[in-house]
Subunit: 184 residues, 2 copies
């Protein structure tokens, strides 16, 4: 089932359009070629690297944020539908981990999820009243965490936002946030 | 009921010994004198200002911390009895608040509480598995948050730590942390 280069590049383009946050590593695995080949393909097709793709998408979402200053969101918001759902990406660097174990500190995953729960609210102000969170598995330096927030319920001045965070397809964090919202 | 200066200074000394984290403002109120008088009293009695008192106490607790590097604790640990209880102090500065409202961001209060819950564990490693938290009232720039952690239960590899945080005597945060602990 060896694909021609042309076939591979056309499928590559399609894959990146459908799942813009796929890594070169994942693509190499999918197409059964080296990461270097994927990089060359991307260059020939003028597809920027993942980091750049994320920034491009994040820039478009930036001005949608209402309940806090966009730069106060922890992680990069790559999708945002106010009062509905939102997605952000956080790359776990050395500043996020316990020096001793290289394991990400809970409050960074919490900060990503919590600030996304604020960002998704379509009001001038949103404050966290309550939250129940579970850390499903350890996250390590170098991993990319994709947080998905979903507004599940509105109750008067309160909104319930569920946030699930993933590394690749594995869930690492689950949180239910009760947000208080108000106009300034 | 006017006290003599000598009486006041002796009672002042006693008060600070009993409640070392009392502010000059609170002392002034208690003794019904100006803050300036309290400062002069402290100078005459060679009692350092609160900031220095906190640092002095924190230095003594520093080496007791086991489950993480002491400088990784968010806030200053001023009391620590491993596997029992701990207290830390966090001064809310401009870096901790939403620029728009001056209200402290939830993840900083969470980080103080969570890292104290880690610090109180008498093992080489402690990770947060779960937590249920409530933000009781907004905390503002300039306020000092005192977090009190208490180990309430041990269940095999898990420990339940309750953390309550206060501004003056008012509770602003409540959290129950389920901690996984292990020897390295």
């Amino acid at each position: 089932m060896k694909r021609t280069k042309k076939e591979r590049q056309s499928q590559l383009l399609e894959t990146i359009e459908e799942t813009p946050f796929v890594t070169d590593e994942e693509l190499a695995e999918k197409f059964n070629v080296s990461i270097q080949t994927i990089r060359l393909d991307r260059m020939e097709l003028s597809i920027p690297e993942l980091r750049e793709r994320i920034k491009l998408v994040a820039k478009k979402q930036f001005n949608k944020v209402k309940a806090l200053d966009p730069e106060e969101v922890i992680g990069e918001v790559v999708e945002l539908n106010l009062d509905q759902d939102a997605i952000s990406i956080l790359d776990i660097g050395p500043e996020h981990v316990f020096s001793r174990t290289g394991i990400a500190r809970g409050h960074h995953l919490f900060a990503q999820a919590n600030s996304l729960a604020v960002a998704v609210i379509n009001d001038d102000m949103a404050l966290t009243a309550k939250s129940e969170i579970t850390f499903k598995r350890q996250v390590r330096k170098g991993e990319r965490v994709l947080a998905k927030a979903k507004v599940t319920r509105a109750e008067g001045d309160f909104m319930i936002v569920q946030v699930d965070s993933f590394v690749k397809r594995e869930r690492v964090f689950h949180g239910i946030f009760t947000m208080y919202r108000s106009r300034l």
